[in-house]
């Protein structure tokens, strides 16, 4: 039995994961209590949190000293960071996975219990997961603001791909959660 890979991704109304400079401040105006609660519940379900090097370093500098509701699941649940260059990984529990992304994901999916592997980005890591069709469930949170230009996470796809909508929910400040699964033969 393999466990599924969930990509949790905030997006703008026009489909971007962040501004071109990586700024993701657009999420905060519509991150209301109900959405915060939903995300906290969602990330507590994870068996392991995965991310690219830059996101790991950003999170390692933030979550250990944060008292926000996301901090406990991020600090408590094991993490895996995908990087060929990261030398020190002080924020644990953590494993560093080097080399081929697909092999690394397959290895993670084959381990542990049924709790999912939850991916947190950044945009480049999310783009690589989507392009290689490694994501089993997309948890997309669309915020009610258009950025005009930004970082796309589906731009590595070789062709259009259909998904099926499994859950949809709107939050008080206008964010919308859509959960999709890839349609695979």
């Amino acid at each position: 039995m393999t466990r599924k890979l969930v990509l949790k991704q905030h997006m703008s109304l026009d489909g971007y994961a962040g501004r071109l400079d990586g700024d993701v401040g657009f999420v905060f105006d519509s991150l209301d209590d109900a959405l915060t609660y939903w995300i906290v519940q969602d990330i507590w379900k994870a068996g392991v949190h995965i991310m690219g090097r830059k996101t790991y370093e950003d999170m390692a500098a933030w979550w250990p000293k944060s008292d926000e509701p996301f901090a406990a699941p991020m600090n408590t649940i094991p993490k895996a960071v995908f990087s060929d260059t990261l030398e020190e990984a002080p924020w644990g529990p953590v494993q560093v996975i080097r080399g081929d992304l697909g092999a690394g994901i397959a290895h993670l999916k084959s381990q542990g219990d049924a709790r999912p592997v939850v991916a947190h980005g950044g945009a480049r890591f999310a783009r690589a997961l989507a392009a290689a069709d490694l994501v089993d469930e997309y948890h997309l949170i669309t915020h009610p603001v258009a950025l005009g230009r930004g970082l796309a996470i589906f731009s590595g796809l070789p062709a259009a791909r259909r998904l099926s909508l499994v859950e949809n929910r709107a939050f008080p400040k206008g964010a919308v959660l859509n959960i999709y699964r890839p349609v695979r033969p």
Partner: protein
Amino acid sequence: MRRLGVFNNVSLDGYYTDAGNGLGWAHEGAGDDEHMEFVKDNAQGRNALVFGRVTYDMMEAWWPTPMAAQAMPEVAKGMNDAPKYVFSRTLEKAGWSNTTLLNGDPAAEIARIKRTPGPDMTVLGSGSIVAQLVEAGLVDEVQLMVCPVVLGSGKSQFAGVTSKPLWTLSRSRTFRNGRVFLAYTRP
């Protein structure tokens, strides 16, 4: 003051056409009576329609034809009867019924038309026009029918906008065919 809305099918990565201006992806797997009914009702307002030249050409090549009248009689009648505006600096005349050709700056023209008496207006397709009108603060409502497909590349109707209002989500509805309708109004 006449209100201005936008209606477009979009992929879940935010594109209203694919990279080749194609719209076929928006209609694949659409078969769902409730969704069909919604689209029909939504298209049957008494609104005037606003287009850029590319979208106008596609629409004009289909809706006035006998094929369209046979395939979707009510929608075709609505499209043909509606007052229409097309923005173009190259078209010499607009042959589709009830169409006014506009060759000025879209934001200035729409700002002027909004102050004249007449029905509310809806932009269909026409991403570059939408982006200019959003930027100018003239769009009162954006309606998205989010289709369960990722295109990977395509055209965005918000390309290059720099004004970033936090829109108000005023309506949302989910259909069995996986589409999600979202209506955002300007705060």
